[in-house]
């Protein structure tokens, strides 16, 4: 199977972010960057398909400035065969424009399966995968927590609120991957060495007009400082009173 995995470079989330002076980005000093969480699951799922088949090719694709080459190399060190950077130096926020640039790259690639993470962990729009599928005219199943194949039919499970769906479609197809599918492997030393020699092509991203623009980033308003109202079960009557009279939720 020929598989494309589209991945995004994002900062580590376990930090206290600062807003950059521009007001439209985070201050990147001191931040560590990696493959976005769900995209990492997609890479792992692709590797497992190839291992199961004993054949196939996996191509990782990322849109952005030259620093995205770091995550493309990392994907190749995990076992991806080759990589494509869709070069664009300025930040892009419009998922439709991003989907368009990816679709332009994917269209004639002869891919059986195009994989995305369910969403990027930073901007968290959860839109690029299904938009790219529409632009490619391919069937699409999003937010997959279990993925199987019966011949050339994709059989997937999608988690809903308090329920799940079983969904099928034939290849070629686009899928977006939820967590729970497979934990991404760590690159081996051998993998890291061989990744250096794997091909990484750089092309200009064919971005159309951007009609969704990020105009401001801000830290969320702080909640009022927490209040401890008492200790032990003796505090329960006071809690009930506050829920009734102050919060008006009871």
């Amino acid at each position: 199977m020929k598989i494309a995995v589209c991945i995004k470079r994002v900062p580590d989330m376990d930090v206290r972010f600062r807003i950059a002076a521009s007001g439209t980005g985070v201050d990147e000093s001191g931040l560590k960057f990696d493959i976005s969480d769900f995209d990492g699951y997609a890479v792992e799922a692709a590797l497992q398909i190839k291992e199961r088949d004993g054949s196939g090719e996996i191509v990782a694709i990322s849109l952005g400035p030259d620093v995205v080459q770091e995550i493309l190399r990392k994907a190749m060190s995990m076992g991806v065969d080759r990589a494509v950077q869709l070069k664009h130096d300025a930040p892009v926020q419009d998922p439709y424009a991003i989907a368009g640039a990816l679709a332009a790259e994917l269209k004639d690639g002869g891919y059986d399966l195009v994989m995305f993470g369910r969403m990027s962990i930073d901007t968290a729009n959860q839109s690029v995968g299904p938009m790219a599928a529409e632009l490619l005219g391919l069937p699409c199943i999003t937010a997959i927590s279990k993925l199987e194949f019966a011949g050339s039919v994709v059989k997937a499970r999608r988690e809903l609120e308090g329920a799940y769906e079983l969904v099928e479609c034939a290849l070629p197809a686009v899928v977006t991957i939820d967590e729970g599918i497979a934990r991404p492997r760590y690159p081996s030393l051998k993998g890291i060495m061989s990744a250096k020699k794997k091909p990484l092509e750089v092309r200009s991203a064919q971005l159309g007009e951007q009609r969704l623009t990020l105009t401001k980033m801000a830290l969320p308003p702080e909640r009022p400082a927490g209040r401890i109202i008492g200790e032990g079960k003796d505090a329960v009557p006071e809690l009930i009173r506050l829920l009734k009279e102050e919060a008006k939720v009871l």
């Binding site: 900062p11 989330m13 972010f17 807003i19 985070v26 419009d94 998922p95 439709y96 424009a97 962990i121 930073d122 968290a124 729009n125 959860q126 839109s127 938009m131 529409e134 069937p139 999003t142 937010a143 927590s145 999608r158 988690e159 809903l160 609120e161 308090g162 329920a163 799940y164 769906e165 079983l166 969904v167 099928e168 479609c169 034939a170 009609r211 969704l212 623009t213 990020l214 105009t215 980033m217 801000a218 969320p220 909640r223 927490g226 209040r227 401890i228 109202i229 008492g230 200790e231 032990g232 079960k233 505090a235 329960v236 009557p237 809690l239 009930i240 829920l243 919060a247 939720v249 009871l250």
Partner: protein, 330 residues
């Protein structure tokens, strides 16, 4: 021609209207009241959907677009996306509202791409101007509020569940039947089954109250205390931390946090939850937060409107009894 009307997708599951359907509808109503346009709410399902139309009329739909087909018994993304995009292309719509529910997150981007417009996804606040829409969307696991400007018509928005309160406002709710814009026999993606998990319990996204448990409960069986408190409210769902779902105490779908469900209930009760960043990212937008924890230094107390320090094995039964008493007659 001025585009003044607003479209709302009324999400259903198993033939039942979901709370998020009324949220999208109420958003459309408020927008149309400003623009002077009409609200068209769309219902889709296998059959009998028109029976739900009066509720949409009561929540502000001037017109209820009803799409019925046997192929719509389960969610059918291709038929819905094609039919909605065709409707939006028929003109007159300034905007379209979806919920950023599991279904809406799948459907809204498909509709937007087919309509060749961007999508403002998972929006918590917005304002609709003549030329542009300004929408806020929390990102970076809830740590940063991103403000986007969307220049396209129709402006397509998906709303974070709980961001807009459903509001009654009686309108005609005139039923108009739609036909499918593509042949349902030709669709490629098929939902073969929708399986309800855990019985008829309220879903986390629908529940005005969420009672949530963490490692402080010590073992899976003790979730009974959390379930009892939820049952005493009568309108509560049960959530859990990632630590607890990773350990298999609760299903993965109950996880609230950065990588699980993002919830904004009226009342969130955290029981034996320390308040890791990963968890706070999923619930810090709750209107009122209560925390019960034995460690008074636990970070959850920093965000809790009302905290009680102590042994939850004593406090929860007392609270359950008190809530049951307070809810008598509800």
């Amino acid at each position: 021609m001025a585009q003044r009307d607003f479209f709302a997708f009324a999400e259903t599951r198993g033939g039942e209207l979901r709370r998020v359907a009324l949220e999208a509808l109420s958003a459309a109503r408020a927008a149309a009241d400003v623009s002077g346009g009409q609200v068209h709410a769309m219902l889709a399902g296998a059959s009998g959907m028109a029976a739900l139309a009066p509720r949409l009329g009561a929540h502000g739909a001037d017109k209820v677009l009803v799409l019925e087909h046997a192929a719509l018994a389960n969610y059918n993304p291709e038929v819905l996306a094609a039919t909605i995009a065709a409707r939006l292309a028929s003109g007159g719509y300034r905007g379209a509202f979806f919920s950023a529910s599991a279904q809406g997150k799948d459907l809204a981007p498909r509709v937007a791409a087919r309509s060749r417009v961007p999508l403002a996804a998972d929006v918590t606040e917005y304002s609709i101007g003549a030329e542009s829409v300004v929408a806020k969307h929390p990102g970076f696991t809830g740590k940063i509020v991103q403000t986007f400007t969307l220049r396209a018509s129709p402006a397509i928005l998906s709303l974070r569940p709980g961001a807009v309160l459903p509001k009654e406002q009686a309108k005609a709710g005139t039923v108009e039947s739609l036909s499918t814009a593509v042949d349902p026999a030709a669709v490629r993606v098929r939902v073969t089954e929708t399986v309800q998990g855990g019985g008829a319990k309220l879903d986390l996204g629908d529940a005005p109250v969420i009672v949530s448990g963490g490692r402080g409960l010590k073992e899976a069986a003790n979730f009974k205390l959390v379930e009892d408190l939820a049952a005493a409210f009568g309108n509560a769902a049960v959530g859990a931390t990632r630590a607890v779902t990773d350990d298999g105490w609760r299903p993965h779908s109950d996880q609230i946090g950065q990588t699980g469900r993002l919830v904004s209930p009226d009342l969130y009760i955290a029981c034996g939850i320390s308040g890791a960043i990963q968890h706070l990212a999923g619930m810090r937008t709750a209107k009122t937060i209560v925390a019960i924890n034995k460690d008074k230094e636990a970070p959850i107390f920093k965000v809790a409107d009302y905290g009680i320090v102590g042994d939850l094995f004593e406090i929860l039964p007392a609270l359950t009894a008190a809530v049951r008493e307070a809810r008598k007659g509800h």
